[in-house]
């Protein structure tokens, strides 16, 4: 493999320097979405549907407009109608008609919390009053929340023009099933006929919210000539620009999008909600407009990930060789099509080499907020089912669960059921690291249980830009187009510093707005360190070439006779001449005389992301009285390719695992009979707190990705995949109970314990 710096000579990559934006963030100076303010700014507020499904008969805004201090009101009538067509815009197929209607309901409100109008007023209090004065007449329609109920032939239909795609012949009746997808390999019936041991299960998961602590927020400003600025907390300033322009019918060049610091996203800030509304209100009022969601808004109106029903069946030979697997997945999309059913169908069984596989998936709409991406979208759900079934299979075969995975786990050359042959992967090294970890061998006390589960994610590349500018004093600015959501400024600076051979403190990383750097896909899919890192690395390499050329000019020797080492130009060998080395600062000082500023910007579309695998080990204890599950010990092993900033890689793994533990044990949406969410707040939607969790040990495995200059794969997605099954398998081990339904909350555990006791007594 050809790494730009031999792995053994790395000086900066693989260490954990203090992040360059750290001081601002520990002192409260960093500007997040809601911290932005502009002179003359007024406040926007959204009016939301109280109904899960209703026709909007009329909207009367006159009373709101008449209120003193109200500057503008918008409804769907202020936005152009967008045709029903899918476009691929980097984050997945995007139907802009749906996106537009999700930002502002047109004709129908499709979930409780769906925006129906928005106002801008001189104070927050007046804006709130004005929202109440907007009169919306609804015709309430029957609604449907549950995924299987939504699939039933007599279910209330959300979209009369939705006919299930992927079924031949094309259906004649509209349905809530947006599409059916399938993958097949071998002959699954023959495979099961050959199987000697079969396990089967039906699993359910609940929608869970990304629950970033910072609610969505933005500030918009529009001049009379149509030039507009949008400042927002987002995973992609270019996404905000493209989506907002599309929804408003504006030209992209008229909109400049500034990314503010982002208080968590995890996929949930890969779409727009407020931005087009704020821009329209700003245009109509002629004033800068600030909009913020409340926590309730975040829960009711922004994307969770899918809840699902998964049926899985796995068949194996007595010796443990898996011969067949079947999976049926029904994923909720929320009110508009587009659940992560594709990856759902691929990821669960991607980890095992199985000759006969059949997977069918359904993308199903219902009267819930439209799902948004959430870490490794689709993969955790399917893996909860598959990895639970794998645990059952290991028990039935009386094989150690890690051994079963080692026996069937994919390696280079294994062909998946979706056709792709794995290449340069590190699943077996991950399993080996898990097996060798002291946690795996540590004794358990009576009543305690241990579970293990694995996870897979593709990781992605995509379009990225990075610029490296050498400043007059020899300091270096690195500009990228990706919001820093978890320390990417640090990793960009580190990669540039490594290539330039200078201390990382000499490099100042900046996240550019849409006019300051070339197009970049958003931060997500674990792509930034891989793809943007590739752009920054290449830009730094080009700068090194320029520095060598400039040194050659100063020394009046050919450029080939100059070497770049330790941040200095050196004459290459004796023949080049006897010159004192020139530092970057010395060359920078003469840049004007040797040809002008030294800088380089690279835009690329990175391909060949390296897939990631993880294996988590979890110990639990179950309180039979209260049904409470206590996580005693947790170890997360993962192949990251190459850890650029070690501590932030560990942090990603720990954070992903913690989110998965929340998904496993507590998080869910609770609806009343009218389709209204009952727990839209952090008190009742319970994310893990510090006292719920033990130390989560992150174990980094490094099997380099040969298609990245430092071997990076990506980190952030994989760690949320295994936890639900790891916890479930630990509970199974502690109590004998197989918990097929998430969350495994105290009431469910108690009910299951009671049922088991009842069965025993009977």
């Amino acid at each position: 493999m050809n790494y730009i710096v031999p792995q053994s000579e790395l000086k900066i990559v693989g260490t954990s320097p203090v992040r360059p934006d750290g001081v601002d963030k520990v002192t409260g100076r960093a500007t997040f979405g809601a911290d932005m303010a502009l002179a003359g700014m007024i406040w926007g507020k959204v009016k939301r549907s109280p109904h899960a499904h209703a026709r909007i008969v009329s909207i009367d805004t006159s009373k709101a407009m008449a209120l003193a201090g109200v500057k503008a009101v918008v409804t769907a009538a202020d936005f152009p109608e967008i045709p029903n067509e899918e476009a691929f815009v980097g984050e997945g197929p995007m139907n802009f008609r749906d996106l537009s209607r999700n930002c502002m309901a047109r004709d129908k409100a499709l979930y409780e919390g769906h925006a129906v109008a928005a106002v801008a007023a001189s104070t927050q209090a007046i804006a709130e009053q004005a929202v109440d004065l907007i009169e919306v007449t609804y015709e309430v329609l029957p609604h449907v929340i549950d995924v299987e109920a939504a699939m039933a032939p007599d279910a209330p239909v959300l979209h009369p023009d939705m006919f299930t795609a992927g079924i031949e012949p094309k259906p004649t009746r509209p349905s809530n099933i947006a599409k059916r997808v399938s993958f097949a390999k071998g002959d699954v019936d023959a495979g099961f006929a050959e199987a000697e041991v079969i396990v089967e299960g039906r699993y359910t998961t609940q929608p869970v919210h990304q629950a970033y602590i910072e609610p969505h927020a933005c500030v918009a400003q529009v001049a009379t000539d149509g030039q507009a600025q949008i400042y927002s907390s987002t995973q992609g300033q270019f996404m905000v620009r493209a989506y907002s322009a599309k929804i408003l019918g504006w030209e992209i060049a008229n909109l400049r999008s500034f990314p503010l610091e982002i208080g968590g996203g995890f996929g949930g800030k890969t779409v727009v909600y407020l931005e087009p509304l704020a821009l329209k209100l700003a245009q109509k009022s002629g004033r800068p407009v600030k909009m913020m969601m409340t926590r309730e808004d975040v829960f009711r109106a922004s994307g969770p990930t899918s809840g699902a029903v998964i049926e899985v069946k796995i068949g194996a030979k007595r010796d443990g060789a898996i011969v067949a697997a079947r999976e049926v997945l029904k994923y909720q999309a929320g009110a508009f099509a587009g659940s992560p059913i594709g990856p759902g169908c691929m990821c669960g069984l991607a980890m095992y080499d199985i000759p006969n596989v059949d997977v069918v998936g359904y993308d199903v709409v219902s009267n819930r907020p439209k799902v948004a991406a959430y870490r490794a979208p689709g993969a955790p759900i399917t893996s909860f089912a598959v990895e639970s079934a794998m645990d059952d299979l290991a028990r039935k075969l009386a094989i150690d669960p890690l051994a079963l995975r080692e026996m069937n786990g994919v390696r280079d050359g294994s062909k998946t059921h979706y056709g792709v042959t794995h290449k340069d992967i590190g699943f077996l090294p991950v399993l080996e690291a898990a097996r060798n970890h002291p946690h795996w061998k540590a004794p358990l006390k009576p009543g305690q249980g241990r579970g293990v589960a694995c996870g897979f994610w593709f990781n992605i590349g995509g379009e990225s830009s990075g610029a490296v500018h050498v400043n007059e004093d020899g300091s270096v600015s690195v500009v990228s187009g990706n919001p820093d959501i978890g320390g990417s400024r640090a990793s960009m600076a580190m990669m540039a510093a490594e290539v330039l051979g200078i201390p990382v403190e000499q490099v100042r990383p900046i996240v550019g707005d849409t006019a300051s750097i070339g197009f970049s896909f958003l931060t997500g899919g674990s792509r930034v360190t891989f793809a943007t890192g590739m752009a920054v690395t290449q830009a730094a390499e080009r700068v090194v070439e320029q520095l060598k050329t400039r040194a050659a000019q100063i020394w009046e020797i050919p450029a080939e006779a100059v070497e770049w080492k330790d941040g200095k130009a050196w004459p290459a060998g004796l023949n080049a001449g006897a010159f004192e080395p020139l530092s970057l600062a010395q060359i920078a000082l003469k840049a004007g005389r040797t040809g002008g500023p030294i800088s380089s910007e690279v835009s690329l579309n990175a391909q060949g992301a390296g897939a990631g695998f993880g294996c988590h080990i979890c110990d639990v204890e179950v309180d039979a009285e209260t049904g409470q599950v206590k996580i005693l010990r947790y170890t997360a092993v993962q192949d990251v390719g190459k850890a650029i900033h070690r501590a932030y890689v560990e942090g990603q793994i720990q954070g992903g695992a913690a989110q998965g533990i929340g998904w496993a044990l507590n998080e869910e949406y609770i609806y009343d009979t009218k389709g209204r969410m009952e727990n839209a707040g952090f008190l009742d939607y319970r994310v893990p707190v510090a006292s719920d969790l033990p130390l989560i040990e992150a174990v980094i495995v490094e099997v380099p990705n040969p298609r990245h200059p430092f071997g990076v794969r990506g980190v952030g997605e994989v760690p949320i995949v295994p936890p639900m099954a790891a916890v479930a398998n630990a509970i199974r081990s502690a109590t004998g109970l197989r918990m097929p339904d998430l969350p495994m909350s105290p009431p469910k555990i108690c009910a299951a314990l009671d049922a088991a006791a009842g069965a025993k007594a009977a």
């Binding site: 991406a373 870490r375 979208p377 059921h417 290449k423 990781n459 992605i460």
Partner: protein, 82 residues
Amino acid sequence: MPKVVFSGSETRRFTGGRTELEVTATTFRQLVRELDARFPGLGEQVEEGMAVAIDGVIYQDAYGAPLAEGAEIVLIPKIGGG
């Protein structure tokens, strides 16, 4: 000749259930045209909505990707992420 694998319904619905096809294309663009000529509509489907794995390496956008003799080309849904 490179071989194209159709593993999922999103491609198989165009191929009438056929799971593999040998092609003469040497570039991705040629491949798209060849597939479209053979199975009308598949070319557009691939161009608009699919990622391509060539010998195990996933390309979200494969315009520049070479198709070597004997390459295995797999069409899969495009992948986003969180």
